[in-house]
């Protein structure tokens, strides 16, 4: 039997499709008996779809450092 903390971590891994088969199985069992974690999993999955839908972009650290250097020159 796994703890809720562990279940949450596995749940997060599944959001990035990085949970192993055994982990998924453990999570499934846990969700059968734990209402709180079921609710969390549902919400977490919803959040993942939102993130995908939002089409998020961000600059890489490399780009940011380059920007900073150029901005420093102007300061």
């Amino acid at each position: 039997m796994i703890s809720c903390e562990k279940a949450a971590i596995i749940c997060n891994k599944t959001q990035y499709e990085e949970a192993s088969f055994m982990e998924k199985l453990k999570l499934r069992f846990h969700l059968l008996i734990c209402k709180t974690c079921s609710a969390f999993t549902k919400k977490n999955t919803e959040f993942t779809t939102l993130c995908e839908k939002a089409n998020l972009h961000s600059l890489s650290e490399h780009d940011k450092i380059k920007m900073k250097e150029q901005l420093q020159e102007k300061l």
């Binding site: 891994k13 919400k43 839908k53 939002a54 089409n55 972009h57 780009d63 920007m67 901005l71 102007k74």
Partner: protein
């Protein structure tokens, strides 16, 4: 005597304290917002970049526009009155930059001529008005706008996260870097990473909760 001195000192101290308080409120009234260009890129680069990408749909151009925005902001920093928050002010500059960008790419004479064809399907016979009426039940028009707002809302929430959590979340979720690479780059172990991901996700869900769930 000593007691008297002490109360005197205390009074003095009181005066100084009250002075400093009034000074504080005064300075707040004078400039409620201040510019801090050193922190601009850490604080606003991603937010502005999202805003720009949604409008020019090209990452390279968007990057340039954001950079130009920072330069322009620096140049006109002395005109900043402090009425608006720093980010709002920068967004206003970026908006002008986006408009300038479209002006520039449309300035060639050939491109200035606008050819319109009202119906996209060329094989339909005649100009039937019925074919051009908008579908009143269509939801398609709103969804890109909604998604953009959602994107800005998420960015807003990300910017409220602790720096390291925000960084890990962005690398993992937005840039899709593998767990191994992130761990190597930041010098953390995987379980550490997952705990940070968990915290940032929980915080973001809480932050988005009011509007988007």
């Amino acid at each position: 005597m000593a007691a008297l001195k002490f109360t005197e000192q205390q009074e003095n101290f009181e005066v100084i304290k009250s002075n400093s308080v009034t000074f504080d409120t005064d300075s707040k009234k004078m400039a409620p917002h201040q510019l801090n260009p050193d922190a601009w890129i850490d604080l606003y680069a991603d937010y502005l970049f999202n805003f720009a990408v949604a409008r020019v749909s090209d990452a390279e151009i968007a990057k340039d526009l954001v950079q130009e925005t920072f330069f322009a902001g620096l140049k006109s920093a002395k005109n900043y009155k402090g009425d608006a928050a720093e980010r709002t002010w920068l967004i206003a500059i970026l908006k002008r930059k986006v408009i300038d960008h479209y002006r520039k790419i449309n300035s060639n004479k050939g491109k200035a001529e606008v050819r319109m064809s009202y119906s996209s399907s060329s094989d339909s016979e005649g100009d039937w008005l019925e074919e051009q009426v908008a579908d009143p039940f269509s939801q398609l028009e709103n969804s890109p706008i909604e998604n953009e707002e959602l994107g800005m809302a998420i960015q807003d929430c990300i910017s409220k996260l602790p720096k390291k959590q925000a960084l890990v979340f962005k690398m993992k979720t937005i840039q899709g870097i593998s767990t191994e690479d992130i761990c190597n780059e930041l010098g953390i172990n995987p379980s550490n990473l997952w705990v940070m991901i968990h915290r940032s996700r929980t915080a973001l869900m809480g932050c988005l909760n009011e509007n988007w769930f």
